[in-house]
């Protein structure tokens, strides 16, 4: 299908989308930001096995000015790792410094909280600082999505659509109340792509190396964000024509190596914990085990005692892949439909759709390290962000067409995507575990002494 000519976008339509974006953000404030809901605890509290998770996947309470608050166990390292950032001198016992699982890989979250505490001059308490950082990361992600879409698409509507979809995206709306900071990788990816596309790639190579090294150094502490950004930079150059692309790829890889070397030196000095060490995971062992598995499979031999990508037997194909693929499809079906249509008919969107596949694989590579058969929403987010850009460019282009039916189709498709993103319980079920119906039941909780229940 040939590209239709871009028409002029009517001012009323533009105004309508601006109002829609503003309304969506206001609604998010009401429904999510100020809801007081902490899905990180809720997801483990009233919906998991009644025998094991009374009180949630947690064992400690935090005192707050409004009473007690349960903190999910895996978020506690972010709280504890504020102190190592505040130390100005060398430490005596490095093993007791940065701690927890996971910890080093998400250190950017306590760093941002530390900055928030500094910026507030002690006006906010620590847990409120976490909440403020979550809100600001969400607002920053919306801004980055808007600016990136402006960079890639030449109409005035695509940025508004990208911003709208990012504002409603579950990786942000489900994590306002938590302290794990799982969405930091997505925010980092958006920021990194924006900085690279708008600034870094236009610099001379030495400056590119310096800035990319610094950016990747930050990404090492951003829940895997550095992998996604590096992949984005390298793979988009495979898509783009022109000279100098291999030099750009080499620069990106060199910057990654420099950043990793820096982290290795710090790890040696401060005994920084890592997920790989905690889980006794070895990349070389995984590769050799996987090659052995492939060899046995090719020969028709017994694979039950072998491991492919850290999964025993055939579990990688039988359990893990179906879980993550079905969860992604279920949570992003409308978005995928729009992306498929965009791929068929709108050339500028194709790069993002192609990028979504390797980012999906790399996103879930974190699960490979653990060997868990589990879907985490934040690991699907990089791929989803690419589809959001693809969809925004395509939909913005379609609205510019003069026929009313295209405008109506855009509203319908956009509405479908937003509707799916705002099915909170379904998205929570997919985010934590990949089962859309885990949190379907209505939960009403009474506490002795309080006649007013909490209703979820």
């Amino acid at each position: 299908m040939p590209l239709p000519p871009v028409g002029r976008i009517d001012e009323p339509v533009l105004r309508l989308f601006r109002i829609a974006l503003a309304a969506a953000m206001v609604w998010c404030f009401y429904a999510y930001v100020f809801s007081g809901k902490d899905w990180e605890v809720l997801a483990t509290k009233h919906y998991w096995s009644r025998g094991s998770y009374y009180g949630g996947y947690a064992h400690l309470l935090a005192e707050t000015p409004n009473g007690y608050r349960t903190l999910q166990m895996e978020g506690l390292p972010n709280l504890a790792n504020l102190k190592p950032l505040a130390d100005t001198k060398a430490i005596d016992v490095p093993q007791d410094w940065v701690s927890g699982f996971p910890s080093t890989e998400r250190l950017l979250m306590p760093f941002l909280v530390y900055l928030m505490l500094r910026a507030s001059f002690g006006w906010v308490d620590t847990l409120t600082a976490f909440w403020l950082v979550n809100v600001l990361m969400w607002l920053w992600a919306i801004t980055m999505a808007y600016k990136l879409s402006s960079h890639f698409f030449d109409d005035r509507l695509s940025p508004l659509i990208a911003a709208l979809l990012t504002a409603m995206y579950p990786v942000f709306t489900l994590t306002f109340g938590g302290i794990k900071g799982q969405d930091i990788g997505t925010v980092y990816l958006l920021t990194g792509v924006y900085l690279y596309e708008s600034r870094i790639q236009h610099l001379p190579k030495p400056w590119q190396l310096m800035h990319l090294s610094a950016l990747f150094a930050l990404g090492l502490f951003a829940a895997g964000g550095w992998v996604w950004l590096c992949a984005y930079i390298c793979l988009t150059y495979c898509w783009r024509a022109g000279s100098g692309r291999w030099a750009a790829v080499a620069t990106a890889i060199a910057a990654t190596i420099l950043a990793r070397v820096s982290l290795a030196l710090l790890t040696e000095k401060y005994k920084l914990p890592s997920v790989e060490t905690y889980l006794q995971f070895s990349y070389s062992e995984m590769v050799s085990d996987s090659l052995e598995w492939i060899g046995a499979w090719c020969r028709g031999g017994d694979i039950s005692h072998l491991r492919l990508l850290n999964y025993p037997g055939d579990l990688f194909f039988r359990d893990f892949l179906p879980i993550i693929c079905s969860a992604f499809a279920r949570g992003h079906l409308a978005l995928m439909v729009v992306a498929a249509w965009a791929f068929a008919s709108f050339r500028p969107s194709r790069m993002f759709i192609v990028m979504a596949v390797p980012l999906f694989i790399l996103g879930h590579s974190g699960s490979v390290i653990t060997g868990w058969r589990w879907h985490y929403g934040y690991l699907s987010a990089p791929a989803a962000i690419m589809l959001i850009f693809a969809a925004s460019g395509f939909l913005g282009h379609q609205v510019a067409r003069p026929e009313l039916r295209w405008k109506m189709a855009v509203f319908l498709l956009l509405g479908s995507i937003v509707w799916q993103f705002t099915d909170e319980k379904m998205q929570a079920g997919l985010y934590w575990g990949g089962n859309a119906s885990t949190y379907a039941a209505r939960v009403i909780v009474y506490h002795e002494g309080n006649r007013v229940p909490h209703i979820y």
Binding site: A62, E63, S262
Partner: protein, 225 residues
Amino acid sequence: MLRGRRHLVAGALGVLLYVVAYWGGINTNLLFLMLVLSAYTTLVLLVGTLTGVGAVLALCFSLLRFPLNIPVVKLVEPGQVDADERTSIIPAGQTWHYSFTLTDFEKWRRECGPLAGTVYINGIRLTNSTVDIRPIGTSWLAAPKYLKAYSLDEVQLTPELRGIREFSVSLAARDGSAPAVRQAPETDGVNIYHDAVFLELKSDRCSVLYHALRRAGTDLPLAGM
């Protein structure tokens, strides 16, 4: 965006920041230095003037120079944890009571359909306890009519709720035993419901949960069936 010589100046200032901070003894926390310098290098991409660079530099220097007293988040254990596996042992001669009032029962039955009730007690060595549910009023030592054991670490009881809107669950230790109830961070405002003893009314559409506070006493449970 900075270009040419200005970029060079910004880079040199970054190096100077590191040298002054680390070798000047202001901040020898290399981890924090790495984060701040990486942030500086990234932020200068967003500013277009040396004035902006100066502001970013000043901000980064203040982060390095003036440490922050992190506001303490006081973490508390829920209940008294006096055994492994985060449990609290029921002392010999003591009975722990939990009162459940089925608030809004009719309303939820209308909205959610027929509700089946289960009392959950999580802990260890619970088969060494005596469980009494009133007003049904049956005291048991593993009474099969009401007991649906999930595992050794949990007891599920399914009391019939016909017309009953208030009842209590009492736990006591048998002589020589040491049953322990799991302690968990269930909270509502200023109250902590740390004992893992709770009631669930469940239907296809809803789950209505009731949490109760422990009241300890020295009264003995009712005699056996």
